[in-house]
Amino acid sequence: MFGGFDFDVIERSWRYLFFTGMSFTLRLTLLAMAGGIVFGTLLAMMRLSSIKPLAWIAGSYVNTLRSIPLVLVIFWFYFLVPYIGAWIVRSDTPVQVGAFDSSLFTFVMFEACYYCEIMRAGIQSIPRGQVWAGYALGLNYWQSMGHVVLPQAFRNMLPVLLTQTIVLFQDVSLVYVLSITDFVGAASKVAERDGRLVEMYSFVAVVYFIACLVLSQLVRRLQARIAIVR
């Protein structure tokens, strides 16, 4: 079945695939995870806030982005970010933003919606008595969130947050639609240049499979360890 295929192409393009492609994918994943969790936690706090307009804005934003395809969101932000940039620096013309920065912005804004729902569940699972105890000691809202609620919520939801990050790692591949060179993009460029579609795409599939399988097994083990400690 695999006879007649030239898998040497993988050996030849190895550096390009990993040092250009996978490096882009990993950097984007890790930075988007960090930004997404921070922004997502903020959105969760907004959704749970007693200030109605704030809750409504956050809720609408999260629900809208969770209802449309990621591909569409990628297109949206690709065109929107230069205008946002112009508004921030008060320029007349749209600001040129590089591929990595535009993608980073997109993925932070998108994944934050999913991290938001996870953190929201986490925050809501903390017993009210904990919040009262914090307030009774004289802590204000931000102090009680920062020292009492969020540390506990984050610890509880860590496995789910990490699983979402594995999903993010896979989602990054969609920057392909803008011809950006992530791991899949790099493989596709080599495939087209050398005419080795089967070899390259099979290889990409195998790499992702092994990486995600190993990562999800690690998360499962972490989950088991946390469960014992509580």
Partner: protein
């Protein structure tokens, strides 16, 4: 010290507190008792603004709790509260539980907060457990740490919301002993509890609540001797039975 005037509270259309009025003078120990659902926990949570109320007002040391302009965190730092479920912060050690609010709210330096925390921990007899996590302590130990945590803030009054209701019987006394000592040292205390033995020992006054209303508000001796309302008599006969 604590003045509750005409306080009423509704959850939606359901009225949980009806026109409650009473006073706790400086150094007084007032016990609040009553059947489940009588509103006693709700009332005590209104005193430091943890629960909002829709009518009436509460003042603590002259500061109004109901006034929207009041700096509630600042007021709450001056009132200590102990909860039924202890509510120690499980992700922090005992020491960190004791020093967090001192540092973040009162602005004390770390060494000062630590010294105070250890002194109070020693006072409740738990100095050896300073580095442990709440999960490693028994219920009675956790509650004593919770009392120490509240005392670290140098409060002008202490509120107790059923402090022994979640404890196994053999641990109730170790907590009550700490509370008795506190009362004898002159702390202003408002205690929601079923422990009538405690009330008889150190209370100055006893308040009996039923269905959101204060039904009896008399001196300890009068309450245990000749309670005026039937409801209070019924309640007393039931719980003093064991």
């Amino acid at each position: 010290m604590i003045k509750i005037s005409g306080v009423s509270k509704w959850y939606g259309s359901f009225q949980v507190l009806t026109d409650c009025s009473t006073e706790v003078a400086k150094g007084e120990v007032v016990v609040v008792c009553g059947p489940s659902g009588s509103g006693k926990s709700t009332l005590i949570k209104c005193v430091n603004g943890l629960e909002p109320f829709q009518a009436g007002d509460i003042t603590v040391d002259g500061v109004s709790v109901g006034d929207p302009k009041t700096d509630l965190p600042k007021l709450r730092a001056r009132i200590g509260m102990v909860f039924q479920n202890f509510e120690l912060f499980p992700h922090m050690t005992v020491t960190e539980n004791l020093t967090l609010a001192q540092i973040k709210v009162l602005g004390r330096r770390r060494e000062e907060a630590l010294a105070k925390g250890m002194a109070l921990l020693d006072r409740v007899g738990l100095k050896a457990h300073a580095a442990k996590f709440p999960g490693n302590l028994s219920g009675g130990q956790q509650q004593r740490v919770a009392i120490a945590r509240a005392l670290c803030m140098d409060p002008i009054a202490m509120l107790f919301d059923e402090p022994t209701s979640a404890l196994d019987p053999e641990m109730i006394n170790e907590v009550l002993d700490v509370m008795v000592q506190l009362a004898q040292e002159g702390m202003t205390m408002m205690v929601v509890t079923h422990e009538m033995g405690f009330a008889r020992r150190v209370a100055d006054r006893v308040i009996f609540m039923d269905a959101g209303k204060i039904v009896e508000d008399t001196s300890k001796n009068e309450f245990f001797g000749t309670p005026r309302s039937e409801r209070a008599q019924l309640f007393l006969s039931k719980i003093l039975g064991h």
